[in-house]
């Protein structure tokens, strides 16, 4: 277990790495990298927006700005330095801002993961305690009396000892030391702050705080639109608490139903708990509770939305309307009009696709995530809202119109929360190496194409495909592993046969 000192050292190391790189000129290289800076999170565009406002125009008047108006005002000192093109100052202030955002994100992430991995984490929001997972497991295992010692052992190994989530208190440091996070921070983008907002939503949900959760949700959706998909997992988190490992069913008070026939090598009876028995979870909330929660949740969302829009309107003043803001921010994200190369799948596709199919494919791309993927995932992972959030964030990172590495950093940062479940994950090698390859060869290909002018767009395009595939492999395999884990935990008897 990591001590406090260990944490301190980790944080200091993370900060010093950032400062060192930043001061040594790495930010000069990274601040233009398409992997780090996208049209929606660029600090340079922010400075342009500030300039427009200073000159009495709406920040959305020009081609440049596609993020929230709040940034323009909140980040005034940073932008001022950038505008003055005071090289050293802008570099430092941009980095300091990102470091602060990263630290906040790390703390939030640490809190989320710590709570997610804590034994007995699935005490429900209603305060009704459910016996801790480990206790259940231990009890179950004991009761089950697995036939062979090996199997018993394997079951334990598979499960992992309770509380032995190896990364639960390292999540923050892992997030901070993730090369993607570091790159995003040094390059200087608002991506770190966007991540903070998402984590705030999750943190609020995990802690059962409706105001905080809804605030984070509204803020994150306002900033980058896609976190709006997190409404579902956040609601589920508020509704039923953290991820339950399905197998951890409360031990039957005194029954030996399962064991008796097993000893006789008889097939399990129908009495054994159904695999996805809804009744197990329902007790956490009564019907009126759900309705009440939903009401509070929507009130929270509505309140914060109104508050945020009012703030935007106040900030924009007479210069611009909210409709114009929406068109320039969320509309811009949906329409994917800026085809500047990035690490996503959109830019090259929509540069090449025939004009009359553009709208259709745009629809399909968004539809896939929203309608085809979200409901099945929700149905499948309704008992694991945090994992659902992770999958949604992963999908977002792949299917965003302007993704950057900070999006990947966000969902990778959540992985430690599922360390126990993901032990059986397969194709980790493929996925991780895919990410490595894309991260190393991608810039090389980009360099060949854009700067050396010896390659063409396909060089970089191939790397974006690799990046998408690698992320997809990690995502799908983690999904499979969690399902597998749940299944194995759900029917431990099956192991015996």
């Amino acid at each position: 277990m990591a001590s406090k000192w260990f944490h301190l050292v980790g944080f200091v190391a993370a900060i010093s790495i950032r400062l060192t790189f930043s001061l040594s000129g790495a930010s000069k290289v990274l601040q233009h990298r398409v992997e780090v800076v996208t049209p929606t999170n660029s600090l340079k565009r922010l400075a342009e927006a500030r300039w427009l406002i200073d000159n009495g125009m709406s920040p959305y008047e020009g081609w440049a700005y596609h993020a929230s108006p709040c940034y323009v005002y909140l980040l005034q000192p940073v932008i001022g330095a950038i505008q003055r093109q005071d090289a050293r100052l802008s570099k430092i202030s941009g980095t300091l801002l990102c470091i602060a955002a990263d630290l906040l994100a790390a703390v939030l992430l640490q809190a989320i993961v710590f709570r997610a991995c804590k034994p007995g984490n699935f005490e429900s929001a209603s305060g009704q305690d459910v016996p801790s997972c480990s206790a259940v497991e231990a009890h179950g295992a004991k009761q089950l009396d697995l036939t062979s010692p090996e199997e018993r052992k394997s079951a334990y190994v598979h499960d992992g000892a309770s509380g032995d989530a190896p990364f639960n208190d390292l999540a923050g440091i892992l997030y901070l030391l993730n090369p993607y996070t570091i790159a995003a921070c040094i390059g200087g983008s608002t991506g770190s702050i966007d991540n903070c907002a998402v984590l705030l939503a999750l943190y609020g949900s995990v802690n059962g705080s409706i105001p905080l959760a809804t605030f984070g949700l509204v803020l994150a959706s306002h900033l980058t639109l896609h976190p709006a998909l997190l409404i579902v997992p956040c609601f589920l988190l508020l509704h039923q608490g953290l991820d339950r490992r399905k197998p951890c069913q409360p031990p039957p008070a005194s029954d030996t139903i399962d064991i008796a026939p097993r000893n006789q090598n008889e097939p399990p009876t129908k009495k054994r708990p159904a695999m996805v028995d809804i009744s197990t979870y329902r007790e956490s909330r009564t019907g009126s509770g759900v309705i009440l929660l939903a009401a509070f949740f929507s009130i929270g969302l509505g309140f914060w939305t109104v508050a945020l829009l009012a703030l935007c309107k106040v900030l924009l003043g007479e210069r611009g309307s909210l409709l114009q803001m929406w068109k320039a921010t969320h509309g811009f994200i949906l329409a994917a009009d800026d085809l500047t190369p990035n690490i996503g799948l959109f830019w090259y596709f929509f540069a090449e696709v025939f004009d009359h199919f553009r709208t259709f494919f745009l629809f399909v791309f968004h539809y896939l995530v929203l309608v085809i993927m979200l409901p099945p995932l929700t149905i499948r992972f309704h008992h694991r809202p945090l994992f659902l959030a992770y999958v949604i964030l992963g999908l977002t990172s792949i299917f965003k119109s302007y993704p950057s590495v900070s999006d990947a950093a966000l969902y990778l940062g959540l992985l430690p929360a599922f360390a126990r479940e993901l032990r059986q994950m397969r194709f980790v090698f493929v996925g991780v190496n895919g990410l490595l390859v894309a991260s190393v060869i991608g810039p090389v290909m980009y360099n060949l194409w854009i700067w050396k002018n010896v390659g063409n767009a396909n060089f970089f395009y191939a790397m974006t495909l690799v990046y998408a595939c690698a992320q997809a492999v990690l995502l799908i395999q983690s999904t499979a592993a969690v399902l597998q884990y749940d299944k194995s935990r759900n029917s431990p008897q099956d192991l015996s046969t």
Binding site: W63, I278, L339, E352, L377, N453, A457, I476
Partner: protein
Amino acid sequence: MFAPPFHFHWRLVYVVLSAFVICASTAHECFSEELLVRPLPGGKVLIHFHFVSQLGSGANRHHKLFSKAVDQLVRKFSLQELELSFTQGRWDYTRWGAAEGIAPLAAKPPGVELWSRLSAESEAEADATWRNLTHALSGIFCASVKALADPATKVVPILSFQKKGADWRTHLLAAATRAPSEGEKGDAENECGGTAAGRTLETCSLGAGNKEGIRLGHTRYGALPREAVCTENLTPWLKLLPCRDKAGLATLLERRRVYGGSYHALQVHIWAGGAPAADVRTASASGSCLEPATGAGREWSGDRGCEGASSGDVGGRGDDVSARARGGIVLEQTLTLVLDVGEGVGIPNENPAGGVGHMASKQAVSLADVFGRELTGSCPLADVSRIYTEGRRVDYFGEGFSGASVNPQPKWVWSAEGRSKTLLEYDLKRATLGQPLNVSLPYDGANQPAAERAPFEVSRFVTGHGLERGGIRLELTRLAGGEGKTVVRYFQLLPWFIRVYFHTLRLEMDGRHVALSDWTERASLVPAKDRERQAVMELELRIPADVKRVVLSMEFDKGYLRIEEHPPDGDRGFDLPSAIVTFPSVSGGVAYRMSDGDSTGGDSRGLEGRPLLARMQADLPVRVYTSGLLIPLATPDFSMPYNVVTLTSTVIAMIFSSLFNTLLQREAGKPAGNAAPDDPMGRDPIGEKQRTRSLPIATLWKTFARLWNMWVDLTVNS
């Protein structure tokens, strides 16, 4: 000669008046053809054709001389003013000058430049008119002017081309219109947010009221730097002339010579309706020449006019003229050529008159030499047909120039005020018939007078490399003779895919960074919007007298275009239109005074009937067009849209299908429903994938239905 109390803009009056005066001779239509030849250093000669057609207001739709196409254009699109130029080659400001006489008329940016002021009730209507106008011009001139109809290339200039306020008119492009008087200028500034000195941007409201919109017009500007100019543009241009190229000066236009030169600018300039009339009215108020010459026949009788004006009935006649001018149309067509004559470059000796192909250092060069064709006479339909040759006085009247063989003989000699230039005027209408018409000028290849240049040398270039980003840098270097405090106006268009960051605008004076707002009198910076509009930069800089070098720089990101948005040779790069640097404080007009000549025949000694001279005398703004920029953009692979669509779609399909498959896997592994509880296959967590049994649709459906029921159960019913 008369010396009336001239208004500040009196020179301009001649442009209009001369047209009217000519017009009077043929009722409502008239036509003049003029040619200016000017030697340039470096073995080149500039030839400027200047044709003016005038349609009186009362004319019906049957024209004798005036081009019907232009008339229809004006009527249909409610044009107030229009200027269209087709240019090939680059005007050499260093050697050919920028600040005097013909240069401001002749220098144009490469490609097509169109500028027009339209009467419209609203901006939207003006946009629609502009769109139709560009299409019509495309048809008339066989050019791709219609590309300017794309809203992404349309520009609504705020400072530079806009006629602002009461009578404020810019003099950036509207060369023929008068410069604003000081008072009016002040008004305009107030109206336009006079406190702009401290701000780098002004928000002038563009749309005046409906009536204002009709009266002042809406300005639109567009430039196509890449348009190739060829004979297919010249032929329709010639069709607008009454004699085409069958007679008169236009017969000289031998295509190979025209397009073999270093520079070639074909221009059309139309004034219609109220704009000139206002000037006439101004003129009437100031009591200058009003009386249209009513002399019969083609012979010019210019001894009228001024006397008539002084006879007293000023007001009434002035109104009369302005009323007639209101509906009139003036069509000015010019063609400027810079051709090689020196050292035999490109000029084979094939002229029938036996001229010389090789020019000695001091030699006469004749039109026949230049064009390889002889002039056969003037256009019979023309009211005025004159040729001017320019040079130093000493060349004409010193020794060594044998102008004796010239037919016709030079009739008048004009000298420029304050300059050593001399202009010889030949009247083709007085040429002796039956003799070959030829005009020559002394050409002293090595010893040409230095061209009068703008106060600053202007250069603009792109910085940086690579296809991702870059910068644009404008450098102004003060030239000898350009001392003093100078006001510089900078106008620049940037297509939307050149994503310029205005916050990176930096002004440097003599190597020191200074705040842009401290030195900006007025400015209008309009940021671009993707696929919607171009970025327009208009800055008016005040440059102190002691500053030698001014640098304006900005950064941009290069956009990435869709595959259809690239031109056929996308890898060549994109041309940026020329920027325009104007020096409003420098006057480009040259006042010519008649100094000498054959005074027989009672010809006018003023500028009436000499539209070209009047034009050159008008207070022309000194403009310098920078060279265009070529910016390469990153291109997609043009050969593989299908591959990309299929590859990306495959990846996405794989991602979704495998994710979906994973989600369903467990249900599949589970004994379907309650059947086969002892199925051993379903127990192995790892080996689940090895299950080869395909998922029957029924099972899938059942699974889904169950999941859905659970979901409903969970959320709603509970």
